[in-house]
Subunit: 202 residues, 3 copies
């Protein structure tokens, strides 16, 4: 948690944006208020819950109520304000990229701290970033977007690999987090702007 | 496990009813005998397995063979007797509400006993009650019913909050369980009778 | 891990075949390169990850990079070579049956070694064998094949029960693994040849 507590505000912004993305998906599928909040909760915290299950600790989402509270409140607000949220498409994309950068980087460090070797820690870091959206799509009956198009998980993986390398080089944590999260953010934004996507098989 | 062992019969009834609900869903989707039993097993025990994964212990469903045996036998029986089971719709709804009440309340207490704070324990308790049905719906290709309509999870959450409050007030466990499970049961039955449902976004 | 290390080559072959099956499913659903690799990874290692989560240890898939590397490389190769892979249908079925036999048997032993009673260890062993394909199907929007037709999980369960019995009789591990995995393999191959399938409800 120590690395997270360095960036509490950005952390909570990431959770709020992911919760809003889940709530918007839930509203689109005509879920009821509970369903919208539940999908928002899993979109926001599902990646971190998977990470904690894999590194074998009690998920932080159940231990620190502030995370759950932010997710629940954001999802509930989105339920009522969703037309306004939908108009903020560009803002949401930018904040989502920031959330992705932060989640993959702190996820990788948490796995490293739990004794997972670098290769596995990067996979766990990536799952921290994409897991919430993945579960959101499964709950709403969609093949996960992250598996179909766009540079999203790959931008996350670059962040994981960077922070693991910087950590092995004993670069100070706050600096390493900032550099690797920024790299992920920039890659993701450039990918959106230039419409980059991964190849599909012919 | 101590709180569960106070109510072994009700506990097993809850598991049997949830297993039957899973088996009926599996038969409706034309799964084979193995598939019907597997979906019955996950509907009955999936919520408890998720709870135990989150509180970081080996799932009771794999440790105590009686739970698995009841789920497997009930699902197999439902495979052959499903027309009769379908006619018992009202009985199934009543027993399901009883199972929900018991599962959310004992799930909350297990999480509290494992050191999870009250807020997170209530979420874990609710997942104990709705997790099995959720996985059942995912396995049979449906958007989970619990996210779409009816007062189900919310009734469960009221039970979780009640038992956590009673526990904090040091009310004796058996009494607290009975009160909170009854509250959940009554809320759920009234919601069915009056056709209450949570709002959907306009 | 000791029981696995007796059979490292067969083990890696099993992972490669399961990864190829996941990658083929991903290509069929027009996932991009990342999605194909991700589904290949989960098809190959998802069963083992579930097993390790259930017996409450850090998943080997994140601890030993060789497993992940084999899965990722095989899935990526399948992305480019998938027409050739599709022609190998019979070879893939044979190798898949071998992988199933090995996964269920070593999964059962790992669960027994972790202190899970025999009944639960057999269920965990079976999940080790079918879990990857199950998650593969969920990620690609299908009702899991293993629940719908063919003798697959049941062949696996026979292997689990055999190895648990042999272990209780103190038969040496390498011999027990070989016997039980061969039994599973033979059952699965005979079921394919004779077109055996489990009953569906009328």
């Amino acid at each position: 948690m120590s690395s997270l507590s360095l960036l509490p505000v950005v952390d909570l912004i990431g959770i709020a944006v992911f919760a809003a993305s889940g709530a918007v998906a839930g509203v689109a599928k005509r879920l009821d208020l509970f369903g919208v909040i539940f999908v928002g909760f899993t979109a926001a915290l599902g990646g971190g819950i998977l990470r904690d299950v894999f590194i074998n600790v009690q998920p932080f989402a159940f231990v620190d109520w502030r995370y759950a509270a932010v997710a629940v409140v954001t999802a509930a607000a989105t339920f009522w304000l969703h037309p306004a949220v939908s108009k903020l498409r560009w803002t949401v994309l930018v904040l989502d990229a920031a959330g992705l950068g932060l989640f993959v980087v702190t996820g990788t460090l948490k796995a490293l701290d739990a004794g997972v070797p670098a290769f596995g820690a990067c996979i766990i870091g990536m799952i921290t970033g994409i897991g919430g959206g993945l579960v959101r799509d499964l709950l709403t009956g969609e093949i996960p977007t992250v598996l179909r198009r766009e540079i999203y998980a790959v931008a996350g993986l670059c962040g994981c690999a960077s922070v693991a390398t910087l950590d092995a080089l004993e670069v100070q944590r706050p600096l390493g987090i900032m550099l690797a999260a920024t790299l992920t953010f920039v890659l993701r934004m450039v990918a959106i702007r230039r419409n980059w996507s991964a190849p599909t098989a012919s």
